[in-house]
Symmetry: C2
Subunit: 212 residues, 2 copies
């Protein structure tokens, strides 16, 4: 797997192509930092984008949900899907409103999912758990046979993907002459707060300092 | 406009219907807190989900972008679209992996966009600016006629929408007996960091304490 990102007609970044990143390591980094993807599918000629937890394992994405979930059933059936993960990194205050923008890293993966076979489901759920809650698999109650049967897992290969990264300082423009508002960037980051304990047990280190 | 949320077959929440919220105030609150939506459209039978800045004005969403943007052109042409805004509020550590989950608020709006007429574009951009960077419109260089002409704005009515809110404490299960890992919630929030100034001008109050 060393396909170039954005290599197909439908993953080539057309808007602001200078923000396209061809490096597969950036695709992995964005997917590994995100916690929720937006998964788009078509149902009755209408598009739907639904939030979904996921994890990356090598060159594929793993998505899970209830076997009763319409989205998971569609994905398992192999309908065309788009999985997008966007990390919002900041607000960019340029001198002009026109050039004001956002810093972000966004990965888009196109393709068709494949249902993960029953005997491989537990491993896949372990990978997802390690991504979302590293360290938890070793301590929490593992899935029962019944729970595994009620859970669907779908794998989507990272064969066709694109990554767009906006990280430049505010643009200046000849038209800005005479205007001198503050310019700069306000960084944004999804930050954990103080854990809210349900019981009297001390908060474990893997919760306070997860190694994602 | 007092349509009930989730009232149509395709916006009725099927998975975990107990998380569905029928209150339009919650739809507004989620849309007003989010900064980036994922917009899904169909192109060549394939779904695409793309991140997009937006703002809510009354009972409609406003989306903007370059007139050269394929997404904005499609939306302005009135293709079926789905706009989803998800706020990730926390990680929920239950005793079991099966019941472990996330706290979130997610709003989904279905419909067809309408291009905002030229003479109303500046007002729409003002609304978007006030949402993303409150206070900025009054200080930054306003859009020139050329910049306005290069910007497309699309309005999407909030006629058909659903909202799902997950905010409950970790589930317990009879199968958990004998297991006693820490349980609780790690809150997550998109937090601003220290502004990075591009010049020596003091950071204005509307940047350090935006009133969104």
């Amino acid at each position: 797997m060393d396909a170039v990102l954005g290599a197909t007609a439908r993953t080539r970044v057309r808007r602001l192509p200078e923000l396209a990143v061809a490096d597969r390591a950036m695709l992995h980094a964005v997917l590994d930092e995100g916690l929720v993807a937006h998964v788009a599918v078509v149902d009755g000629h209408h598009p739907f984008a639904l939030p979904c937890a996921y994890a990356r394992e090598g060159e594929r994405l793993l998505l899970h949900g209830s076997t009763g979930s319409r989205l998971l059933r569609s994905l398992a059936a192999g309908v065309p899907a788009c999985v997008t993960v966007t990390l919002l990194d900041g607000l960019v205050y340029a001198k002009s409103l026109f050039h004001s923008s956002m810093h972000y890293r966004s990965a888009m993966v196109l393709g068709r999912g494949v249902a993960v076979a029953d005997e491989l489901k537990e491993h896949a759920l372990h990978v997802i758990s390690d991504h979302l809650m590293p360290g938890r698999w070793e301590e929490a109650r593992p899935p029962s046979r019944k729970e595994l049967a009620a859970t669907a897992v779908v794998a989507l290969p990272l064969d066709e993907a694109s990554v767009k990264v906006s990280a430049s300082p505010p643009d200046v423009d000849p038209d800005d002459e005479g205007w001198s508002p503050w310019t700069g960037v306000v960084p944004l980051q999804l930050q954990p707060g103080m854990p809210i304990s349900q019981d009297g047990i001390p908060v474990p280190g893997y919760v306070t300092s997860p190694r994602r």
